[in-house]
Symmetry: C2
Subunit: 398 residues, 2 copies
């Protein structure tokens, strides 16, 4: 614990995020709706002046926790001035202690995305630009998809699939998966020596200079994490992510101190105080708040600023499916201390019912050229969601 | 961080909890049902041999997170051997990282209570005795109810209400409330000097020898927590609970080191690793896992054993309403390192729809005599819930 470092971070946390000066008049949230079609959820907010914002929920967590949206978030946000977003998010995230966790934050993020869409529409700016400045108009991606394939298929087969995605996107970095990914520190691999083989084969296949990361998803005890980490050092990996269970922060620090390559983590952390600890103690060099799991972009911006103050880097996590890539692009476009590469799980906009979400970009196509995607240019979230698709979703009961 | 202490706790965590030897034959969980009537939830499990267990859900959190019961817990537990309960709970609680938190644990606890009811019915023992030995056949209570009254009414009025409950139950200890209870470290009281007044008045009213605790529910910053704590020391308080926000464990340790009276906390902690930290570093002297919020009695028993190994005490937290008092009695009856007093919020068995839950004790009435309640004696959870009441609840959709 370093009190001086925490003082610096606490001052950072006091700084406002939403650019309130963009909104001279109140933006009263007249209605908040959660719409549902089986496993798919959409949030729509409307202001008393008729402005509207729409967001698509999380592809697989919205279904687990939607009652808290209906029972707690709708009553809390209805009638409030959206210009108070910083304070509203702080109060609802920190004071409702029995609701906290990733499932709650996912609902909060869904609502925040819709509010930022509405505010961006009012200010005629992309959602990112109502909370930050355009620091990264182009976002370099790393491929973070194919998680089950990288663990369960033959290493050469899964690396072949990854290579196809690399060719398609021209991505300059790829993330592999280590161990069984069970968050149980079981030290069990899906086959003996499988992870070592995957590491070696990937380095051979993609060449000495290609950027490779790897994610353990909590597979290892401290000793095994360090043993695998030493192999990663030999193969010049760019970062080593979450080898021990996510909340083993003291043990993670032991691994970090034993490593000569940077470490990455934080995607399951839902607490601001938790990220203050992670940044203040350099538990990881790359911090990875998930834009959904951590409750949205305003909160993630606070983490980014702490990361910057601590001299570290941020690379926000995002799940595949839904509009995850879009939220990632908005966030990274305005992120201070952004890492060089950001998580990308392909432009797969399927909703959890298997329907391609019909979205149209307001400002040029979303595409990866040379492994780089340009930040969205249209107002709000930068997309128009087909109204007929929205109509397939109806008001969600609790 | 103390590696030797953690080694001791890790050995404790490896010890089995469920008394498997009581069940020579498999107890296959043939069905798991979540039944619902508006805001009220009931869990029913049945074995393939026709044994049955029933539990009443949490009075106000079940409604927030029930989809995770339907979508995740029912598929996970159906078809499993209930004798593997320790391992099943470990796997489902630790590996489903995106679901973790109090709302998930509440669902897990609801299911575990029903399984323990079923196992107790099979073994013809109270639920507590299938996971532990009868260490505390009589449970001394402290009054922990009247939370909003103690914060919002005039101090003399709320203390008068508490005194009525004291007379009714003959409880030998009472818990007050400090600050606004917002978990925001706001240092704001509901009226200037109100908490100091409440502390002084309570000591005068109940006398020098009466046992008084107080709970801050995260009201204070470190400095204000210590200032209030010094006043509590002067007035000889028995414990000082959660003055700073629940997850400010480093800051809590600073307060703890500044105090000459014991501290209590942990009710919002949902992680086993979190309790290992709290016990291993003596962040509080009294640890208070909530039997619902922490995911049930087997997990709470593991905390109790860590607490015992660390030379601390445990006083499980429980919400008012529903059958909370019953779960508390089962747990405390078999708890090692149990504190002298345990949380009691009156025998209020109202469900969230306002209906008194019609339960009949299988073994003598539940009553507080001299501030002491005898542990339940009947098999399983020790109660028969009126079948007609259960019938008002129907299968819960997701």
């Amino acid at each position: 614990m370093n009190p001086e470092q925490y003082e610096i971070l606490d001052r950072v946390l006091e700084q406002p995020v939403l650019k309130r000066y963009l909104f001279p008049d109140p933006v009263v949230i007249e209605s908040v709706e959660l719409l549902r079609d089986r496993k798919s959820f959409i949030c729509r907010v409307r202001s008393s002046d008729g402005a509207e914002g729409v967001s698509i929920g999380h592809p697989f967590i919205s279904l687990e926790s939607y009652p808290v949206f209906v029972n707690a978030l709708i009553p809390f946000f209805t009638g409030k001035d959206a210009r108070d977003l910083d304070a509203l998010l702080h109060e609802v995230a920190e004071s409702q202690v029995k609701k906290q966790g990733v499932p709650f934050c996912v609902q909060l993020a869904t609502l925040e995305f819709a509010i930022l869409d509405m505010l961006g529409n009012i200010a005629e700016k992309p959602a990112g630009l109502v909370i930050g400045d355009l620091l990264n108009p182009e976002v370099d991606i790393y491929l973070g998809h194919l998680l089950p394939q990288l663990r369960n298929l033959e290493p050469e087969v899964s690396l072949g699939m990854m290579d196809e995605s690399r060719i398609e996107t021209q991505a300059k970095a790829i993330k592999l998966r280590a161990g069984r990914g069970d968050n149980l520190a079981s030290d069990i691999d899906n086959a003996p020596g499988r992870t070592e083989k995957l590491i070696r084969m990937a380095r051979e296949k993609f060449g000495d200079d290609y950027v490779l990361m790897i994610d353990g998803n909590g597979s290892y005890s401290v000793d095994e994490a360090i043993r695998i980490g030493k192999i990663l050092e030999e193969h010049n990996f760019y970062w080593y992510e979450e080898p021990v269970p996510w909340d083993w922060y003291e043990e993670q620090k032991i691994v970090e101190q034993a490593m000569n390559i940077p470490m990455a983590g934080g995607e399951e952390e839902f607490g601001m105080h938790g990220f203050r600890y992670l940044a203040g103690n350099e538990v990881f060099q790359f911090l990875q708040p998930d834009i959904f799991y951590f409750g949205g972009m305003v909160r993630t911006m606070k983490v980014a600023r702490m990361v910057e103050a601590a001299g570290l880097q941020i690379s926000p996590h995002i799940s595949g499916g839904g509009l995850g890539f879009l939220y990632m692009l908005h966030m990274v476009s305005v992120c201070p201390a952004a890492a060089e590469y950001h998580e990308f799980k392909m432009f797969s906009t399927k909703d959890p019912n298997g329907t391609i979400i019909p979205v149209e970009s307001k400002g040029g196509p979303f595409e990866s050229v040379g492994g780089t995607i340009r930040a969205p240019k249209g107002s709000g979230l930068g997309v128009i969601i087909d109204p007929d698709y929205i109509k397939t979703h109806t008001t969600c009961a609790n």
